[in-house]
């Protein structure tokens, strides 16, 4: 039986245009809403599969504002059993702070396996999972596309520079997940109903944050460019091929 903890972060949905808040400290999400990154969706999927296979449970954890219950709730609906929110003002937190808060929960509840995303979609710090591993004194695999548990050991697979790499380590352990290895599921109606009943445990931070060393955020300057629209739809093909002929690429 494996009880897995998955860490998810409430992040602005930045697939469209990105705006910044006036204090230049965060992304202004007023018009875009919030979500959870694809890497974390993949981590949740892997956790649910492992829990199902071993008769274990999946617990979600987020460190962030009270509104992060939205992301916890919608992720619970995929088939997770419990959720914890460490409520904290996100702009004051750095990766070491987040790792320390996650570590405190893991130690308290004795999770054997913690899954995280490879990198957060907003801050892109690429380090919370590794800092967590050191805080817990546990081994870590970074950037796994899949994981398996067999005979109390963890097998983890990473798409490395020379081919697929296998890691084989004892539990307890930490794994950060890269999207692509599994197709995340969608919530079922039954899952949604069950998620509504879960009581989300709220905690307060265990220590003063050291912060993120952020001076400010900026938007890259827009490069002036005059694009020529050749047209719409397949009827544009002759104009495109005329252009290819002019460019002498045919």
């Amino acid at each position: 039986m494996t009880d897995v903890l998955v860490c998810i972060k409430r992040v602005p949905d930045t697939s469209g245009q990105v705006l910044l808040t006036d204090d230049e400290q965060s992304v202004d999400a007023r018009f875009v809403g919030f979500t959870v990154s694809n890497h974390e969706h993949a981590a949740v999927e892997l956790a649910i599969r492992m829990a199902d296979a071993t008769g274990g449970t999946v617990t979600l954890l987020s460190v962030g504002p009270a509104d992060a219950v939205e992301q916890l709730r919608s992720t619970l609906a995929l088939g997770c059993q419990a959720a914890v929110l460490v409520e904290a003002e996100p702009t004051g937190l750095g990766p070491a702070d987040v790792a320390a808060e996650i570590a405190a929960v893991v130690q308290d509840k004795a999770f054997d396996l913690v899954l995280l995303g490879n990198d957060a979609a907003d801050s892109g710090d690429f380090q919370v999972p590794v800092r967590l591993a050191y805080a817990l004194d546990r081994p870590i695999v970074v950037g796994a596309s899949s994981v398996e548990i067999a005979d109390g050991r963890l097998k983890s697979f990473v798409d490395g520079p020379e081919g697929e790499e296998t890691y084989d380590l004892p539990l307890p352990a930490v794994v950060s997940v890269l999207e692509g290895g599994v197709e995340p599921r969608y919530p079922s109606l039954k899952g949604r109903m069950a998620a509504k009943k879960v009581e989300i445990e709220t905690r307060t931070p265990t220590r003063e944050p050291v912060g993120a060393n952020r001076v400010r955020l900026t938007l890259p300057p827009a490069e002036p460019n005059e694009v020529e629209v050749l047209g719409e739809g397949p009827g544009t093909a002759p104009a495109v091929v005329d252009l290819f002929e002019r460019l002498a690429v045919l």
Partner: protein, 326 residues
């Protein structure tokens, strides 16, 4: 002193590591001519060639970590080697490429030393205080971050600097065998599969590249773009979404963590044009973008744009070319 973790690829220095050295040289110059040391971990087939290449890119000394601990990759063990090298050289800055390994090893190092780590740095704007600018929000925004502890630990975003040989002598070569704790060897690679032929050279030098992204819709969505690439005597290039979903092999990826292309003509189809993709294709002479969304960044940055479904537009172009060829 600056120490840079260098990755080797088929025995020679990876492009993205050479780009990182360009950043390190700029930092070294700003600091009044600080020396740059390179660290390589594990076996090296042709040290002389690597020493010559690194010397040409501004490295004065290569420190090679040797020993059983490095017979297979492990993030903690590599970090232990880098940590030992940084201590012996008293380096104030540690850099690596913004590659998966660079990110992993430097995160380990920063955690071990309990110092901040800045991922995906593109520039620096001062030494005292040391402020770096890095990519965040998938490249849609940048963060200015203060690295107020020593060593400053950072990775350099792929293709944000241009690799350039500046013509130094071959670097001196020193081996060292750092002690690696048992705990640092628990998570390491125990087996490596094989990759399909990893030939990205033809893509990098192609005169024409036809690109395809998520808009292709699935692994079966590449037939028409492949045909177009063939008719234009070009190569196929794809976005990271396409490689991470396993639709196409990684060596076809264009962008920050893929190849940097500079063709006469690039035809990205169903690619949104995220900054990390743009990093790999911005030196294309002419870009003809095909996308259903006229507002996609690729469509506004391109030279020419066609608004439409790639599954209709590309086959129509293929047919038109065939018709004209008779």
């Amino acid at each position: 002193m600056i120490v840079t973790l260098v990755e080797l690829e088929n025995g020679s220095v990876s492009e993205i590591s050479l780009e990182t050295l360009a950043f390190a040289r700029s930092l070294a110059a700003e600091g009044g001519g600080i020396a740059i040391r390179a660290v390589v971990v594990g076996d090296v087939d042709a040290p002389d060639a690597v020493a010559a290449e690194l010397g040409a890119h501004g490295v004065s000394e290569v420190l090679q970590a040797t020993g059983d601990a490095f017979s297979a990759y492990g993030g903690a063990a590599w970090a232990a080697a880098l940590q030992a090298a940084r201590e012996s050289t008293k380096s104030v800055v540690v850099t690596a490429a913004g590659s998966p390994r660079g990110m992993e090893v430097l995160a380990h190092l920063a955690a071990r030393l309990d110092v901040p780590f800045a991922a995906n740095v593109v520039s620096f704007s001062g030494l005292a205080p040391f402020v770096v600018t890095r990519q965040v929000v998938g490249g849609a925004a940048q963060e200015e971050m203060k690295l107020d502890r020593r060593p400053a630990v950072l990775t350099v975003a792929g293709h944000s600097w241009t690799a350039a040989a500046v013509g130094g002598d071959a670097a001196t070569w020193t081996t060292f065998s750092p002690e690696v704790a048992e705990a640092d060897l628990v998570a390491r690679v125990v087996a490596t599969g094989t990759k399909d032929s990893d030939d990205s050279d033809s893509l990098k030098s192609a005169r024409v590249v036809v690109g395809a992204g998520r808009g292709a819709g699935g692994p079966e969505g590449f037939a028409a773009v492949g045909e177009l690439a063939e008719l234009l005597h070009g190569s196929l290039g794809v976005s990271r979404v396409v490689t991470s979903l396993g639709w196409r092999p990684h060596h076809e990826q264009v962008g920050q963590t893929g190849s940097r292309i500079s063709p006469e003509l690039y035809v990205p189809c169903g690619i949104s044009g995220a900054i990390q993709h743009w990093a790999g294709c911005s030196s294309s002479k002419v870009i003809v973008a095909i996308n259903t969304d006229a507002e996609a960044p690729m469509m506004t940055k391109a030279t020419y744009a066609v608004v439409g479904d790639m599954h209709e537009v590309v086959p129509a172009i293929v047919e038109e070319i065939r018709g004209r060829k008779g």
